[in-house]
Symmetry: C2
Subunit: 343 residues, 2 copies
Amino acid sequence: MATMQDVAARANVSIATVSFVVNKSKRVSPETEARVREAMRELGFRRNAVARALASRRTRIIALLLPELNHRVGGTMMQFVSGAANTAKQRGYNLVLWPLSGEADEMSELLGGGLVDGVLLMEVRMHDDRVLRLAESDVPFAMIGRTEDPSGLLYVDMDSETTMRMSLDYLWGLGHRKVALIVEQLDVVMEGYGPTVRTEAAYRSLVKEHGCEPVVVTCEKTASGGRGAASELLERAPDTTAVIVMNEEAVFGVVSGLGRAGLTVPADISIMSIETSPEMGAFSEPVLTTMNAPGEQLGRMGADALIDRLEGTDKIMPQLLLACTLQEGESTAPPRELRSESR
Amino acid sequence: MATMQDVAARANVSIATVSFVVNKSKRVSPETEARVREAMRELGFRRNAVARALASRRTRIIALLLPELNHRVGGTMMQFVSGAANTAKQRGYNLVLWPLSGEADEMSELLGGGLVDGVLLMEVRMHDDRVLRLAESDVPFAMIGRTEDPSGLLYVDMDSETTMRMSLDYLWGLGHRKVALIVEQLDVVMEGYGPTVRTEAAYRSLVKEHGCEPVVVTCEKTASGGRGAASELLERAPDTTAVIVMNEEAVFGVVSGLGRAGLTVPADISIMSIETSPEMGAFSEPVLTTMNAPGEQLGRMGADALIDRLEGTDKIMPQLLLACTLQEGESTAPPRELRSESR
DNA sequence: CTGAAAGCGCTTACAG
DNA sequence: CTGAAAGCGCTTACAG
């Protein structure tokens, strides 16, 4: 591989001049520039990223921290990752993946190597050691997600509150008054997982505002968990007419659990899957009404925010919330009473 | 951040000695080593990855090339990625993601920067420009997947032939003789996608060997594509008693399409989803019998193979094929004739 | 507008 | 066993 030295020699200039041309970092006379470019072309010169990084103290590499295990289904995780990777590439950065078990020490260790200019955090908890550690370090970072009190920090996150409001508005608009919620049971590892916590809280407060009684069932992230949740729900609140599920892995189980209990979706009960990957709805029969999570977009925006910060672009510090988008399927309909009346 | 200089000064040795201690690259007397380690501890020294890379001409970074779009459902893609990332980290490497649109030029461009020591290819086609380009470059690479003629190249891949044999053996074992195949319709982008091509070929030859007539239906990667495939199948080969589906996105559609046509799974027809992510089967009612793709493992093995090569470990060049593993569900049973007879 | 030179923080022959 | 020094391939004040 040709180096700047080679180019400089061939173009009869100093390597500084080559550097100026390559980086457009200083004015160079048109004639000189032409000579340099010609030499670069002839030699097939590509500036060495490592040497540049060392000299400029900027590696143009950012790390994406992701959980070592716990791969969500439906490609949600992959959407974050690929959104972030695409944006990074577009902006001339490289994205490295750091699958960490959650220990902040491990992160500090890696950070110490100086390989990355900044860090993008995924799967942020309400209280997250990594965030504390980063905040007191001097490594720029951004979150996809947010802690309980993220003021002053850079983040992009799902807008669970708005998503829940939109979901309830949609169901209320159809005439439902007894709307239950099924969410995943958070285990030790996932304790305080933001979207789940915020979704449940929003549900409870909105339903109460509306003068109704909240019904929340938790279950495992499996189809059989979903089936169990369905029977628990029917036992605890048999007059439920619609159910919101935030648990992609269990939602098909919920559908079949309701079916086994003799209920037809949506004739007897409506079902809605929220914070879901777009393809999931179509897997079910009937096709599910879903609120699609903006995974790819959040990945992109997270990377953009971080890179803006790294480059000192003086944009406003983004603290962005993005709601899911409604995708109507066949699993929601007005409640039975209303339909009978209107006929 | 403390540098080797700082450590050397504090321990009263040369930076060369510090380097020897850090890298265990040369014997150092116990006393000296102790002094150096003490100094490192006190200063919180971490060796700078970029400087090390420049000096040693090895960045210890590998690139994972993935398609810019086309994110498969069910987390298969993420499993490759996370398998590779985990292994890389374990072995002291960093994995960068290069989402490329498939143009080999773009790849060469990035490679020229010298940021990575080697490349891991995903979504390899039977004829793949990237492979040709890499083969004539001097950048070590390994494939997850393989081209039509991968002799002499490093790869790990799904064993589509064995997977198909196992699937057919399983169904034949239940007594099925009329087994059809539904695969995805390859569009321009995916043309010559190895697993699909190889699976279909294996199916055709095994079925003929068995003295039966192959029936292959192709369809889009959607639930409605699957429904369409179901009706096409019943029209073309109404005596089919079992169907193998290699199309995760469509398989639920196939199930419901068969249902709409009045068939019950598995009483009237058995169904099996192959090269599937492990969670998918449980989403369906009845739970699907699946052949689970070893995504995580392939990712791990691919990264290991590449790193072995980079480090000149003299292991045998791995050209590994890994079959899927059977996970029995409720969607397969002996064909109706047999069951009636045996009763 | 251009160049000489220091320096980024390491590794690695080469000497001793 | 240890050190002095060159060198990895760039960027960036500083001069002119």
